[in-house]
């Protein structure tokens, strides 16, 4: 039994770690093409050399990020079967449709990214720019498909369970895909990809500003990224709030854990901080009524209590509660940072880029965006426990019986840590070389000398 519990944790950690790694890269995969599109389009339409150079540089960086994102995404499709065979066995065909559609999205993304990255000076400029559109669209569609699977795990739909045999029958793939939770969750995640990408790119430029790089490309790169970040960050709490409205009905144990609620009541307080210790709520700052308003937009909303549920149907309370509050806290701070920046910019113009604390807050915003992403995802996943498919299949019954998962978990952690380190190192090497010369093209050092033709760069030139 102890061994089984250990393997359960190993399998869950491996899935959590693999997803937690991929989710950041997938943000770039979904949102970065849109940022590049804005710059590329500006470069062509307004003959803006700086914008075009930025688009080229971002495209080269994205080649590295997309590569790691593509392979870490491929690994996830293995891991669904390797780590959660019980889920795939029962529900593989129920949720297969969105996965198959995501396959098309992934295909289109991979194809058009290949064409875009290698299309500079080879395709007619306008056609080349437009290649980004299917990439952007398939990124959004792919997000919807993948999130629909997660929404299904939260809100299973589209099948009947035979009360006698327990068999899954009457599968309706469309009903499974378009379950009640899908739209809210999908838009929430979609906005997150733009918030994270926008904030992180802006943070990179903010670091540059702090180092005294105040040229136009830095300002331009910053503003494009931060415009996306701002729109996404401001819209996100609204979408998040309305997505959460379903929870008291659909997943009451999750919302009870989110709110650290120890009494089922309306006019429930909002508890900031606090822990669940020995079956009761400790510490924390209570704000009257706000818990009900946050959960249901009305003080009359009844917030379920943790104690409504038997111990073996409760999620890990503290992880869920803390993760949820970190997400809300980080998201709110991001809105504040965005508001502060644009207000300062209105006041002082481009001098805002020289303001030490404004730029530092942007850098912090980059870190907070990743924190919000990871915490939000942790909250929804851990908050669903002990179920992998809510009220249908327990995680313990779904995970692999294989005893080697601790080894594969260790391998994946080491591997992804190295990938993160190397990707960072390579990208920093690229930006350093770009600072040292005007050359955008970065010849690969295969040997003492590289073929002449490969080193010829054509910056905005015609060939």
């Amino acid at each position: 039994m102890l061994l089984a519990a250990d393997e359960l944790m190993a399998a869950r950690y491996q899935m959590a770690f693999s997803l937690g790694f991929h989710i950041v890269l997938s943000c770039f995969g979904v949102a970065l093409p849109a940022l590049i599109y804005v710059l590329h389009r500006r470069g062509l339409k307004h003959d803006d050399h700086d914008a075009l150079v930025l688009a080229k540089k971002w495209a080269k960086v994205s080649a590295v990020l997309f590569a790691v994102g593509a392979v870490s995404g491929t690994v996830l499709s293995f891991e669904l079967g390797l780590l959660f065979p019980g889920m795939m066995e029962q529900f593989g065909d129920v949720i297969g449709l969105p996965f198959a559609l995501e396959g098309i999205a992934f295909f289109l993304e991979a194809i058009f990214i290949g064409i875009y990255l290698y299309g500079w000076d080879r395709l007619p400029p306008k056609v080349h720019l437009n290649v980004l559109i299917p990439i952007i669209a398939s990124g959004a569609f792919g997000t919807f498909c993948i999130i629909s699977v997660n929404a299904f795990m939260n809100n299973p739909a589209g099948f009947t369970r035979d009360p006698v045999t327990g068999e899954i029958t009457d599968v309706e793939p469309l009903a499974a895909m378009f379950n009640n939770a899908v739209w809210g969750q999908a838009i929430h995640m979609f906005l997150a990809t733009y918030a994270v990408t926008g904030f992180l790119v802006a943070a990179v430029y903010a670091v540059g500003m702090r180092k005294g790089r105040h040229d136009r490309p830095h300002r331009l790169g910053f503003l494009v990224a931060f415009a996306f970040a701002t729109i996404a960050a401001v819209a996100q709490p609204v979408v998040g709030h309305f997505t959460g409205q379903r929870l008291p009905e659909d997943q009451p144990a999750k919302v009870a854990a989110f709110e650290l609620s120890d009494e089922r009541e309306d006019r429930a307080p909002l508890t900031i901080g606090g822990l669940w210790i020995d079956g009761e709520k400790r510490f924390g700052l209570e704000i009257p009524w706000l818990g009900s308003i946050a959960t249901g937009t009305s003080p009359n909303q009844v917030v379920p209590s943790i104690t409504d549920f038997p111990e073996d149907e409760r999620p890990p309370i503290n992880v869920t509660h803390i993760a949820f509050q970190l997400m809300v806290g980080a998201g709110t701070t991001m809105v504040g940072i965005a508001a502060w920046f644009w207000w300062r910019r209105r006041k002082v113009g481009d001098a805002v880029f020289s303001e030490k604390w404004t730029m530092r807050s942007i850098v912090a915003g980059g870190a907070l965006s990743v924190l919000a992403l990871e915490a939000g995802w942790t909250a929804t996943e851990v908050g669903r426990q002990p179920w992998v498919v809510y009220e249908e299949l327990r995680t313990a019954d779904a995970v692999t019986q294989n005893s080697g998962v601790w080894i594969s978990l260790t391998a994946i952690v080491v591997l992804y840590a190295s990938m993160a380190y190397l990707a960072t190192k390579v990208i920093r090497g690229m930006t350093r070389r770009w600072r040292e010369s005007d050359e955008i093209d970065l010849p690969t050092p295969y040997g003492p000398s590289v073929e002449e033709a490969d080193t010829v760069a054509a910056v905005g030139g015609t060939r």
Partner: protein
């Protein structure tokens, strides 16, 4: 033809496509690994980068295609394959991550030493990954993946058929890659490089043919069910493969690199199709038939619709990509 057979055939189409596109892609690893250091290896490595760069991500989506089809159409068989073959699948996963990462990292490395390190990781994982995929195929083909209870975590995929399957996978990948690289080099005006690669590809082709004969003998002894299928329905395909392989070798001898590609593709494709035809109607040889493990009917119909959607979206896009990279303009440099 039953719905389950149609779905299985469409899934297997992905296996064939992956063996060809993914195979030619993986196969560059052997060439990269043996290209030599420094100056002497730089031309071939630059060619590999040019050839793979635009297409490698798309080439590997076929694996996702197969996996998604598998778990959607045949959930219990998918789970059986994953459970029993946990270790080789995990190794394939590691190989895919290392390969994709290292390929991108090498391209943007700062110095030669750094590029060399990433290059070694890229090339080595390009060899190891198809080897384990071949072992997985061997395990299924030799009836070592049971449906209900997981098979042994080690012996299931380390039988004779798995070893020859892994070897054959690496060799066919290398042969495909050799013919493609030679044709690509010739098209971009690097005749000398094409000559070097094409010569070696001829030898690789010869060794691959020999390995195929060893594989046939191994199947007779170790995978009797598949072997009997190959004697019957699969026989024409085996003959097609042998003839196409011989023609490809002849084309290489003639220095007709682009034509050699065609023969190589047919030879490898016919072997893979032969495997599928040979083990039909089993999905897990000796343990499960296609019709026994098919998932919900409504989902299968959904899969057919998705396939039709893919045929009008992804396929034209894919054709455009391959037309572009095979055009004159893309053989030269880009920014």
């Amino acid at each position: 033809m039953a719905l389950s057979d149609v779905v299985a055939a469409l899934m297997f189409l992905g296996v064939v496509a992956y063996a060809l596109f993914g195979g030619a892609d993986f196969g560059t690893g052997v060439w990269d690994l043996t290209a030599g250091t420094g100056e002497s290896g730089s031309h071939l490595r630059a060619q590999i980068d040019r050839s793979l760069g635009p297409v490698w991500e798309a080439n590997h989506v076929w694996l996702i295609y197969v996996l998604v089809f598998m778990w959607t159409a045949f959930p219990t068989a998918f789970v059986a394959i994953m459970n029993t073959l946990f270790i080789p699948w995990m190794l394939v996963a590691l190989g895919i991550v290392l390969r994709g990462g290292a390929f991108a990292f090498r391209k943007f490395s700062t110095g030669y030493r750094e590029a060399q390190l990433h290059g070694i990781v890229f090339a080595a994982s390009s060899v190891i990954t198809p080897f384990f995929l071949g072992m997985i195929a061997g395990a299924i083909a030799s009836g070592r993946v049971p449906l209900d209870e997981p098979g042994d975590v080690w012996s299931s995929w380390t039988g004779p058929t798995s070893w020859i399957g892994g070897t054959l996978a690496v060799l066919t990948c290398s042969f495909l890659a050799g013919t493609f690289l030679a044709a690509d080099a010739a098209r971009s005006g690097r005749a000398e490089l094409a000559e070097v690669v094409g010569r070696r590809a001829w030898w690789v082709g010869l060794v691959t043919g020999a390995a195929a004969i060893v594989a046939a003998v191994t199947l007779e002894l170790d995978a009797r069910s598949l072997a009997s299928g190959l004697h019957g329905r699969g026989l024409p395909l085996m003959l097609v493969s042998a003839v196409a392989g011989a023609i490809s070798l002849y084309r290489l001898y003639q220095r007709r690199w682009a034509r050699a590609r065609v023969g190589a593709v047919i030879a490898v494709g016919a072997i893979v199709v032969g495997w599928g035809v040979g083990q039909y109607p089993d999905i897990l040889v000796d343990h499960a038939e296609i019709a026994d493990v098919i998932g919900a009917r409504s989902t299968q119909i959904g899969l057919l619709i998705v396939f039709a959607l893919a045929a009008v979206t992804a396929v034209p896009a894919l054709v455009w990509l391959y037309v572009l990279v095979n055009g004159k303009r893309w053989a030269g440099p880009s920014a």
